[in-house]
Symmetry: C2
Subunit: 363 residues, 2 copies
């Protein structure tokens, strides 16, 4: 158990944005929301998963929608209380703690804001260890947990509770409502007990985000290493490419931010080209026509100077970025994990091959 | 208080399909559902509104979606129980009786099926006295009642509860979910108490439907009158046109059945042309370029031989129909009624002028 204050939030936002793998929302927007709540209501208690009783009701809080829209819509302060009331009324039981469902610039932050505003602790766990575009794409789906009852509310005060026959149906129906509400909403989903959280969750993810964020903040302080070497070391990242953004193809379709970023090589990569496809999150990195990484491994773009993460909604012509690959949480590499979030689900015609195998013998 | 059995259902279905003004669903589909339930579970008790206590919880039951789709989708038997459970859980109070929300071939029938299956009475009242395409278009909206909590369930077992800031938002969000569920779903909405039901409801609508249906069934038994004269007399209808369908323009858009039927005059109307525009329900009847009737007055198409109603989803090239106008429920003719369901809401650029004034001096 420890406290999360403003410096921790700054670092968590940066680190979580890296783990967001292009998605999960703008960390700047996210941290404003979390810092605002903590300034107003006090620091948040972060619980280690093992500190949570088996029968406690644990509720993930997140924003649903296209990150592009999310940055443009106001985030009110009443949503968490509304979600809290909906869930407690449904179960007739108090919520013990909130948790994030994914790592990402916004979705790591909203649960902190919710915890601050409701005076509840936050658990150091999530359901992805990264971000994914669809709500059924969590380790809890592999564990057989239901996404519903799912509560949804918009900043205007509309609210909806879903109970569905599959998590894919939850995604389908909640996505429709999200779009009708203007493209982004606040939700609670996968309500679970402490036992389930400990069995299937990605433990320690908040702390990992914070450490990554702290390392990025201090990346230039490394001794006997260039900042890039230091960055690759502490992230355990595989360098896939470095280039200047020469094109961004992007559209908001079906409530998702879908597209492709094209890169012209710089430095060691001069004369080479690469592209990264995304659906909210980066899905595949292709260098000179060869796939170097696919979902569920993490593909992250970072600024070549500051090493701060560049989310898919912040891609801009001319920006210089490094593309790195990070190994995903081990549960994603199982058969059910690959079925749920592997490349073929997203229409990418390749088997999943672990990042470290694809990169063997490369730069 | 009286009982509704199979003969009553047959007549109610026909009469309600006439009052459906082109919408409200196929009476054949509707009566199969109601008759099936009554055969299995027994006759339904119909209550006069005045027999209902002021504090009783009264819940309208309906199908939402494009009638075209509705006829093609299976209607399960579990939906009513699910809606019942959702509403009673929400209010922590038992439902006293069901009621229809609109008159129509399907939407007058489903509440009968629900009442039979749940062993509850039905109230002789609705919220339109006709059918309208959008869910906020009920007298209860004029009375300031909320459409929510609204419960929605599909035949697969997905379910959703909405609470919204306005009835227009309920329509917006529920329509999205309806489309995602395949185009038609079962709903309960505008839950109300007995006092509200008596204050704003269209009383006696089930009985009126039944009488109209009975008269259509026996239309040829009239003495000293042609069947058509008899039909126009008992419906108090204004004859607007008779013609053969020469074209039907139709599309399912935004969850609605939208289009226009074009008629070439026959009999007295030979050499004249007319068209009727619709959005699930008929919106405007135009003869030789002159508007003869608009929403909220009822525009109904009936077979020229049998006088059975022809719904918008049953319009076919070559079919001979008579177009009649019926005066709408008086509350629709108030300023708030016209704002809610008048011609301009539907994009028809004319003021509302009562049917009987538009038809003055006509045939």
């Amino acid at each position: 158990m420890r406290k999360i204050g403003i410096q921790e939030i700054e670092d968590i936002a940066t680190g979580a944005a890296l783990l967001g793998a292009g998605g999960g929302g703008d960390p700047y927007v996210g941290k404003l929301v979390a810092i605002g709540a903590v300034k107003e209501c006090g620091e948040v208690t972060l619980l280690d998963p093992e500190e949570v009783p088996d029968d406690a009701l644990i509720v993930p809080i997140a924003m649903m929608g296209a990150p592009t829209v999310l940055a443009e819509k106001a985030i009110g302060g009443q949503e968490y209380k509304k979600l809290y009331d909906m869930v407690t009324q449904f179960f007739g039981k108090k919520i013990y703690a909130f948790m994030p469902i994914e790592a990402g610039g916004v979705n790591s932050m909203l649960p902190i804001a919710a915890a601050a505003r409701l005076g509840l602790p936050l658990v150091d766990v999530d359901g992805m260890g990264r971000a994914f575009p669809e709500l059924q794409m969590v380790t809890f789906t592999i564990g057989g947990l239901k996404a519903t009852p799912m509560a949804l509310t918009d900043e205007k005060g509309n609210s909806v509770i879903f109970e569905t026959i599959t998590n894919k149906w939850t995604e389908e129906l909640a996505r429709s409502v999200t779009m009708s509400c203007g493209g982004s909403v606040s939700v609670s989903l996968f309500p679970m007990n402490g036992k389930q959280m400990k069995e299937y969750g990605v433990k320690g993810i908040v702390t990992r985000s914070q450490k990554l964020g702290e390392a990025i903040r201090t990346v230039k302080n490394a001794e006997n290493q260039t900042p890039e070497e230091h960055f690759l070391q502490f992230t355990e990242g595989f360098r896939l490419f470095k280039g200047k953004i020469s094109d961004v193809l992007r559209e908001t379709r079906g409530g998702f931010n879908i597209g492709k970023v094209v890169l012209d090589g710089i430095g060691d990569y001069k004369g080479h080209t690469a592209y990264v496809e995304f659906q909210n999150e980066n899905l595949a990195a292709v260098v000179d026509g060869k796939i170097l990484a696919t979902t569920p491994d993490l593909i992250c773009l970072v600024d070549t100077e500051t090493f701060t993460p560049v989310t898919t909604d912040a891609l801009k012509y001319g920006k210089r970025v490094m593309v790195i690959g990070l190994k995903c949480f081990e549960m994603w590499r199982t058969a059910s994990g690959i079925e749920l979030v592997g490349p073929r689900y997203f229409g990418i015609d390749t088997d999943y091959i672990p990042l470290e195998e694809r990169c063997k013998g490369g730069k």
